[in-house]
């Protein structure tokens, strides 16, 4: 349950001093108070806006074909390991471009999330918690939208670029943080819904109708202004600002050579859009690459999928670095789980959460590091075993937060990250 061992009561030494001040998310009408709204925190963050890029390898990428290769073993499969820009760290030959930027990356190779179901695994990797019947935890994206996002930023705090599916707001992602911090899907990289002015409405007419709306508001609000009316009228200003940022969602504004470097396939285009959005002030962008659920033909599929992944990913890291953004952008490459060391009769690998890997880069991350080890055939973690809770602490720590703080919902303290876990300090800068 959500409050076991962590109620913020005096018995638990998790001090809530200073965090109730300012309290209830005020103008926005939400009941969640922001633990980092203290001036000291805010000042610190404003120095440099921090962002997060999450690359979601949907279906469960094979750790053996990516970050933790075991060539020449019974479980290793046909691929070789290649050296990287970091002496001593080898990764799978399917990632040659990534190997060149390994000095920016940190690997976590001792992951045991103990959950082989897609939905539940994804839940752990998005929330840092296991599912509980009476408690829904917010996604990292929502937490970051809440903690890092600025109220004035018209871009959604948590943007999800999916290869397919419907666009729109995924309310449930934000759980108790409220739908304001839910992810907004850009299906196949299309701009958010309703961003375009209706065709029949000219820019001038649009301006005029808003002018009329504001005139009406002025009169009404003269004697009735509240936090809620402010939030409502502001939402139109934010919408207008986002409409002006329409170009951020349009990669045809990029030079063709750049588009080529990222690749003209979905993932390449989506990585390029992610870069545009991050440059344009987005707080959290998740790019989804589909699909790695290779119960059949694991090797052929990994050639294809990682072949798509490798170059745009490396280009994106390079570009962020070149623009001076990498040090303030936390990058994660994650999945719902890894894949079995055992190779099945269909040349497939199945779901596997007991010993797998993820990669991190950027803000707060010690480039060129690797934490955790698995045994020779990759069937068990032998050193520095961690779970989804540790990852969540690590992400927050990398972004400069004390991950042991609480959220407060209606005065109830909610630990932001699982109190039973802690950050993986070895991969932190």
């Amino acid at each position: 349950m959500w409050c076991s061992y962590s109620c913020g009561s005096s018995e638990h030494s998790l001090s809530r001093r200073g965090f109730l001040a300012g309290a209830l998310g005020g103008a926005l009408g939400t009941l969640v108070s922001d633990p980092f709204s203290r001036p000291a925190f805010t000042r610190e963050l404003n120095k440099q806006q921090k962002r997060v890029l999450m690359i979601w390898l949907h279906g469960g990428v094979s750790q053996l074909e990516s970050w933790d290769p075991k060539p020449g073993t019974k479980t290793g499969g046909p691929f070789l390991a290649i050296p990287t820009s970091v002496p001593g760290i080898h990764i799978c030959e399917l990632l040659p471009y990534t190997a060149r930027i390994m000095h920016h990356l940190a690997l976590v190779r001792g992951l045991n999330t103990a959950e082989d179901d897609h939905g539940k695994g994804a839940y752990i990797m998005h929330t840092g918690r296991r599912q509980e019947p009476a408690m829904k935890w917010p996604h990292l994206g929502s937490v970051c939208a809440k903690l890092l996002g600025e109220a004035k930023n018209p871009l959604p705090g948590y943007i999800l670029i999916t290869p397919h599916g419907n666009g729109g707001v995924n309310n449930e992602d934000a759980a108790f943080l409220g739908p304001r911090f839910a992810s907004v899907s850009l299906s196949d990289g299309h701009a958010p819904a309703n961003l375009d002015r209706p065709a029949a409405l000219t820019e001038t007419a649009d301006y005029k109708r808003h002018e009329f709306r504001m005139l009406a508001n002025q009169r009404f609000l003269r004697s009735r202004r509240t936090a809620q009316t402010e939030a409502y009228t502001n939402s139109y200003d934010q919408a207008a600002q986002l409409m002006r940022k329409r170009d951020l969602f349009d990669i045809s504004k990029e030079p063709p050579l750049v588009v080529d470097r990222y690749g003209r396939h979905d993932f390449g285009r989506h990585c390029l859009m992610a870069r545009r959005l991050l440059e344009g002030g987005a707080t959290f962008v998740k790019v989804m690459h589909s699909n790695y659920d290779t119960h059949h033909e694991n090797f052929d599929f990994h050639i294809e999928q990682l072949g798509e992944f490798d170059r745009p990913f490396a280009s994106l890291i390079d570009d962020l670095h070149d623009r001076g953004l990498l040090s303030s952008t936390l990058v994660l490459v994650v999945s719902e789980f890894g894949r079995t060391p055992n190779i099945n009769r269909l040349y497939g690998r199945d779901h596997w959460s007991k010993a797998w890997s993820i990669a991190l880069a950027g803000c707060g991350i010690k480039g060129g590091s690797a934490s955790g080890k698995t045994n020779a055939e990759g069937t068990a973690v032998t050193d520095r075993q961690v779970n989804g809770g540790h990852l969540f602490h690590t992400y927050l720590s990398a972004l400069g937060f004390n991950s042991k703080k609480n959220f407060y919902i209606e005065q109830r303290p909610i630990p932001i990250a699982d109190p039973k876990a802690a950050p993986i300090t070895e991969v932190l800068a």
């Binding site: 020449g72 046909p78 050639i303």
Partner: protein
């Protein structure tokens, strides 16, 4: 003396002869042309040689990755084995302790198939770098590159006329090359063996095995079709049989009893029938005649089959299995 009557080839009497066991799943198998050995590539990067008679097992250990591509230069008693690290090694077929005699850095990425020309002078290979390459058998030197495929090239065979090479790729495009000019003469359509799975967002299929009839009139391409779920390999085995001359599809050979999986091996018997093996939900061996889309005989195999070869005596088949065994089957009662 009156010679003993030659036993009649009868596929419907096909039965297991012998089992040769390795401790790693196998990928491919070939009889050597002399008929003494069967070779198999395994998931432990080894090529395994068994003496058919004595079952003596010898490991060829120099590959660093998986081997599925194997072909022989009969006169020179050479085995060429191509691996998933892009390398082709040449071996003396019957050496007591085989060591590679040639080491060809052949392709970037997997070598998917190799084949030797009827006259034994040329080796052809194909791979994930979308190339088909011709090599000189005596010295392992590159003769020419055949450029034209736009995706992984899965298979390659020489036409018995020796002047043409046939290659086939992931997307079911089959190209017929003029060997001397190095140009593609024409294309055959085996696209039924390919699909882009839109929900998985990946390609699935490819010509997993290819065979030409001894008289050169038929070409068979094997693989998977009707894929409804690429993740799980839900689809049906299919062998597309072409009339070589016209390039038209002659027949789509399918199991009579619906079956799920991939056709991993196909051979064309000089007696005029076609044999194929499937791996998926278990293993199957089927026999077809060119004039009927449905098999006239099917034999359930003990495990997922992954490759098939025909012995030079025409009486035995070798099947490579996921369970690490090569099993030989007799076509004679």
């Amino acid at each position: 003396m009156i010679p003993a009557p030659t036993p009649k080839i009868d596929p419907t009497k096909t039965h297991l002869v012998k089992e040769y066991k390795h401790d790693s799943p196998l990928l491919g198998c070939r009889f050597d042309p002399s008929g003494r050995f069967v070779f198999a590539g395994a998931q432990d990067n080894h090529v395994v040689r068994w003496d058919l008679e004595s079952s003596k097992k010898t490991l060829l250990t120099d590959h660093k990755s998986w081997v599925r591509a194997m072909a022989f230069a009969a006169k020179k008693k050479l085995l060429f084995s191509g691996d998933y690290n892009g390398r082709i090694l040449a071996w003396s077929v019957d050496a007591e302790e085989p060591k590679p005699t040639h080491n060809i850095e052949a392709h970037r990425g997997w070598v998917r198939a190799v084949t030797v020309s009827p006259d034994g002078h040329m080796l052809a290979s194909c791979g994930n770098d979308q190339l088909v390459k011709l090599w000189s058998v005596p010295d392992g030197k590159l003769i020419r590159e055949l450029v034209g495929h736009a995706c992984h090239v899965y298979n390659v065979v020489f036409h018995p006329d020796g002047k043409h090479l046939i290659s086939a790729d992931l997307k079911g495009i089959v190209k017929v090359w003029d060997v001397t000019k190095g140009e593609a003469e024409r294309e055959l359509d085996a696209k039924l063996l390919y699909k882009y799975d839109p929900s998985f967002r990946a390609d699935i299929g490819g010509v997993r095995s290819m065979a030409c009839s001894a008289d050169g009139s038929f070409l068979a391409c094997a693989g998977i079709t009707n894929v409804s779920n690429a993740f799980a390999g839900v689809g049906n085995p299919l062998i597309v049989l072409f009339d070589y001359k016209s390039g038209q599809q002659k027949q789509q050979l399918r199991p009579k009893t619906p079956w799920q999986g991939t056709a991993w091996g196909v051979v064309m018997h000089p007696a005029g029938f076609i044999a194929g093996v499937g791996g998926g939900n278990g293993g199957m061996l089927w026999f077809w005649k060119a004039d009927n889309a449905q098999d006239f005989f099917g034999l359930q195999l003990p495990n997922n089959a992954r490759d098939l070869d025909l012995h030079s005596d025409g009486r035995r088949l070798a099947v490579a299995f996921f369970d690490g065994a090569v099993r030989t089957y007799s076509l004679v009662k």
